[in-house]
């Protein structure tokens, strides 16, 4: 039994279906990320788990207890901790009062409240700031207050709604690791919502990619990156060259697929398994820029070698993006600096068949 089970969840706003009958299990102690563009239903799903939205259909079971089907359980009774996108740190209360707000509702002695507050303040690194008002704190500190408040009651489930989106880039990267290690150390089952794929990659045990109210793929970060289930997922996560073509041959034993493209009669690709490809099907032969090998001279051997002309370049410091035209198809590659970079220069590309996957159109 999974710790959180989401069954047939449907949430509509007037005529828009924000969440369309999704199924999802979150294991105990897992850090699961809901990833997708804005409007994909990720935040709505999270708010349904919190009880802040009442779904039209379906059920959410937390630790074996149904939250909806046996009477709607109010958010205040679900025993969850939540971090909001805008922190939602109450501006009229001092840091300390903010953090112990929920604890005070439980019948605890002053002493134990104080102790817990001390522990959690240490945990998030806010010692000495108890008497400050949120208005006197930086964004990052308010963030920590929100985290401390969410953690202090030792919640069964921690929900995080884009908690880092209001921080600047440097701090965001630092907080990713902090949140992850903290949550893992405490072993709290967590659901994390973000639209930032890099954040999802760093932080998650598993990623759930959502699109238009549906789950399109669930998997570990490497699975999602290396074997995206659709063009949408591949495009949303990382960069990808999509070469339109048509399947001309399938080798079911080795998962090898031949694709006819604008520049090649038989481009050798790999099927990701899920969809059985049949000849005649329109597909995208897809390869990530970093998987394209680039040579100044034609390599002696290898599959999928093509000649191209540099059309454009973009310098990014640690590497170079080149846009190379093979006939009329532009391929983006990540090239080492020592190669010629001038526009109009000829280069040779190797589209590694092991990395060149076939995605349905």
């Amino acid at each position: 039994m999974a710790y959180i089970e989401i069954r047939n969840l449907v949430k509509r706003y007037k005529k828009v279906t924000a969440v369309n009958r999704i199924q999802l299990d979150v294991e105990k102690g897992e850090l699961l990320t809901l990833l997708g563009p804005s409007g994909c239903g990720k935040t709505t799903t999270l708010r349904c788990i919190a009880g802040l939205e009442k779904p039209e259909e379906g059920d959410i079971i937390i630790d074996g207890k149904p939250m909806i089907s046996e009477g709607f359980v109010q958010p205040s009774k679900r025993g969850i901790g939540m971090m909001f996108q805008n922190y939602a740190v109450w501006p009229h209360m001092k840091v300390y009062s903010n953090i112990v707000y929920g604890l005070k509702l439980q019948n605890l002695s002053r002493q134990s409240i104080k102790e817990k507050a001390k522990n959690v303040l240490e945990l998030v690194g806010l010692q000495g700031l108890e008497e400050r008002y949120p208005g006197q704190l930086s964004g990052g500190q308010q963030q920590r207050v929100a985290l401390a408040r969410a953690l202090i009651r030792n919640p069964k489930v921690l929900l995080l709604d884009e908690p880092l989106s209001n921080l600047d880039a440097k701090l965001r990267e630092k907080m990713r690791f902090e949140i992850k290690s903290l949550v893992k150390r405490m072993g709290i089952t967590s659901v994390y919502v973000t639209h930032d794929q890099a954040e999802a990659m760093v932080i998650s045990d598993r990623i759930v990619v959502m699109e238009k109210g549906n789950i399109v793929q669930i998997g570990s970060p490497p699975e999602i990156y290396e074997r995206p289930a659709s063009r949408f997922v591949a495009d949303f996560i990382g960069a990808m060259n999509f070469i339109p073509g048509e399947v001309v041959g399938v080798h079911s034993g080795t998962n090898e697929v031949y694709v006819r493209t604008e520049f090649s009669e038989k481009l050798l690709c790999k099927s990701t398994g899920g969809d059985v490809t049949t000849p005649g099907q329109k597909v995208y032969a897809s390869i990530r820029p970093e998987d394209v090998e680039v040579f100044a001279e034609p390599p002696q051997s290898g599959e999928n070698i093509f000649k191209g002309i540099i059309a454009n370049k973009a310098y990014l410091g640690n590497f170079l993006f080149l846009f190379i035209n093979i006939n009329d198809t532009a391929i983006r590659v990540q090239a080492p600096h020592q190669l010629p970079q001038e526009e109009g220069h000829e280069l040779y590309l190797s589209l590694n068949p092991q990395k060149c996957i076939v995605l349905p159109e």
Binding site: L52, Q74, M82, N86, A88, P91
Partner: protein
């Protein structure tokens, strides 16, 4: 910094000096004059604070203010919560109805409630006819009636400020409390209400100041022991007794000082406590809740009750306006247009004067207000904050202070008070902040880059204002103009000191008719006429845009 801006700013200051600073200094100087001598000193003030009667009026006024604030808050909190949070049918209508008192003259309400709740008013007669009571109950004559009427009159200020507080709270603040385990009432007390306090206070201070300003309501209800009423009586009726006149002026100054102090204190506090900057990205309407059936019905009943009380005003005045000899009957039986005939045949000048004076005041207002808004929002002319401050301060000044100071200042030194132009001038300076605030607000919303784009294209500042700013500000300006007109149209406390024979306006006519004969018919008909005119003007605002609610809020500030 262009020279034009400095010139403009100096002109505006000149107007402020003539119409605000000069008369108010005369008022203060006059309050120090010792009667019977040529000298001056603090004798008047010493007497004021040693005399048991004046001290009593002072204390009474504070108690009244407190009670009015308390009652309107108690009734206002649930109302604001319902309007801001519950999904309810007919919300717009209810909101408009409940806010109606803001644009109705206070005296209209007083007359209506006297007719309905008076000793032998409709309510008592109905109860007696039904055999429920033997003798008439005293619903309104007395302190409790005063509190009731003033609280109802000021209720919109409380409701509007709370609604604006409730809708501007980031929903996640309350959601966070919910997730943390605080449900219902506790969440409301610990999170929602504290977050509303800054905006509540902005409205509350206006409510608290109202009894320091309103001299007419106590007077009509036969209660005179309140500061503004005493001041009015001392100054208007005892002009031969110079000493009493001076004591009246002292009362006016004391009221003004209380008003200004509290107003500034509230502003300072609100500024200090502003929470809004802290949260990022709120939804447009804030949290909206679907109430359960029991709550839904109770909230309907409650809004209905308040709306009915408010609606009593136009209904009762209407009944009274179209009837004669409505005495000792729960409802009128003799219907006639006689009241209107009397108004139109015998004193059409009242209506004409009202439109003329308010209209001229309005033109002054626009001519002054637009450049003032420009200077305050768009330039860095030194002293612009002081200008803003002076104009905003006028919100807090009791109308009686302006009336009295104009009477004193423009009688001998600058003898403007002998010409009718004093009337629109007084209305102008009294209602100026209303227009300015709306113009100011719409100016703030106007993206400066739109103007900069025009200037970069080679068009000068003035033509940019004419071509770009003015058309874009038009909507806000028009709403401000109508609001200004409504407020000027019903002004009485300033005008009552300044009018001479032939300069009477409708509100003055209402007062005089009541005062002369205790005959409500004609007063009621005049009040009804004013309500109709106000209502038409409100419809115009609603048509222009922004809706009645927004228009009323834009103009919310102090009244009379």
């Amino acid at each position: 910094m262009s020279r034009g801006n400095h010139f403009l700013s100096s002109l505006l200051w000149l107007v402020i000096a003539l119409l605000v600073i000069y008369p108010l200094s005369i008022l203060i100087i006059e309050s120090f004059k010792v009667s019977g001598t040529d000298g001056s000193g603090i004798q008047n003030y010493l007497e004021f604070f040693q005399d048991t009667y004046y001290l009593k009026t002072f204390w009474n006024t504070i108690v009244l203010s407190t009670m009015v604030l308390l009652v309107s808050t108690l009734f206002g909190i649930p109302l604001a919560y319902i309007l801001a949070r519950y999904r309810q049918r007919g919300k717009t209508i209810f909101t408009a109805l409940i806010l109606l008192p803001i644009v109705l003259p206070a005296y209209a309400g007083v007359f209506a409630f006297i007719i309905f709740f008076g000793k032998f008013g409709t309510m008592n007669l109905l109860l007696m006819n039904a055999g429920l009571i033997e003798k008439p109950l005293n619903f309104i004559y007395g302190f409790h009636g005063l509190v009731f009427i003033e609280a109802l009159h000021m209720l919109p200020f409380i409701v509007l400020s709370l609604v604006s507080g409730l809708t501007s709270i980031d929903p996640s603040f309350e959601e966070a409390a919910e997730v943390e385990g605080a449900s219902g009432f506790r969440r409301f007390i610990t999170v929602t209400l504290p977050l509303c306090t800054p905006s509540y206070l902005a409205g509350a201070v206006m409510v608290f100041l109202w009894p320091f300003t309103d001299w007419l309501t106590p007077l009509i209800l036969g209660q005179v022991d309140f500061l503004p009423s005493v001041a009015y009586i001392n100054i208007a009726y005892h002009f031969t007794d110079v000493h009493r006149k001076h004591m009246g002026i002292v009362a006016v100054v004391v009221s003004s000082i209380v008003c200004i102090t509290l107003f500034l204190f509230a502003r300072w506090w609100v500024e200090k406590k502003k929470y809004t900057g802290l949260s990022k990205g709120t939804t447009a309407e804030g949290r909206v809740i679907e109430p359960g059936p029991f709550l839904k019905i109770s909230s309907y009943l409650y809004t209905f009750f308040i709306a009915a009380l408010v609606l009593l005003i136009p209904i009762v005045l209407g009944l009274s306006a179209f009837s004669r000899r409505w005495v000792f009957e729960p409802f009128p039986t003799y219907w006639t247009l006689d009241n209107f005939r009397v108004i139109l045949m015998e004193s059409p000048g009242l209506i004409y004067n009202s439109f003329l004076f308010s209209g001229i005041a309005l033109i002054f207002g626009v001519i002054f207000g637009l450049p003032a808004a420009y200077i305050i929002v768009r330039t860095r002319v030194p002293g612009k904050d002081a200008l803003d401050f002076m104009i905003t301060l006028m919100l807090a000044f009791p109308g009686i202070a302006i009336g009295v100071s104009y009477l004193l200042a423009f009688w001998e030194g600058i003898p403007l008070a002998t010409y009718w132009i004093i009337m629109p001038l007084a209305l102008f300076s009294r209602r100026l902040p209303y227009f300015l605030r709306i113009a100011h607000a719409s100016y703030l919303q106007l993206d400066i880059s739109l103007e900069e784009a025009s200037e970069v294209s080679g068009v000068g500042k003035f033509m940019t204002f004419i071509n770009i700013s003015l058309p874009l500000l038009m909507k806000g300006v028009l709403v401000g103009v109508v609001m200004f007109f409504i407020m000027a149209f019903q002004e009485i406390s300033t005008a009552i000191f300044l009018y001479r024979g032939g300069w009477e306006t409708l509100p003055i006519g209402i007062y005089l008719n009541w005062h002369r004969g205790m005959e409500f018919g004609i007063s009621a008909a005049m009040a009804f006429l004013m309500i109709v005119i106000t209502f038409i003007l409100l419809l115009i605002i609603a048509k222009i845009g922004g809706g009645i609610l927004k228009a009323a809020w834009g103009g919310a500030g102090e009244k009379k």
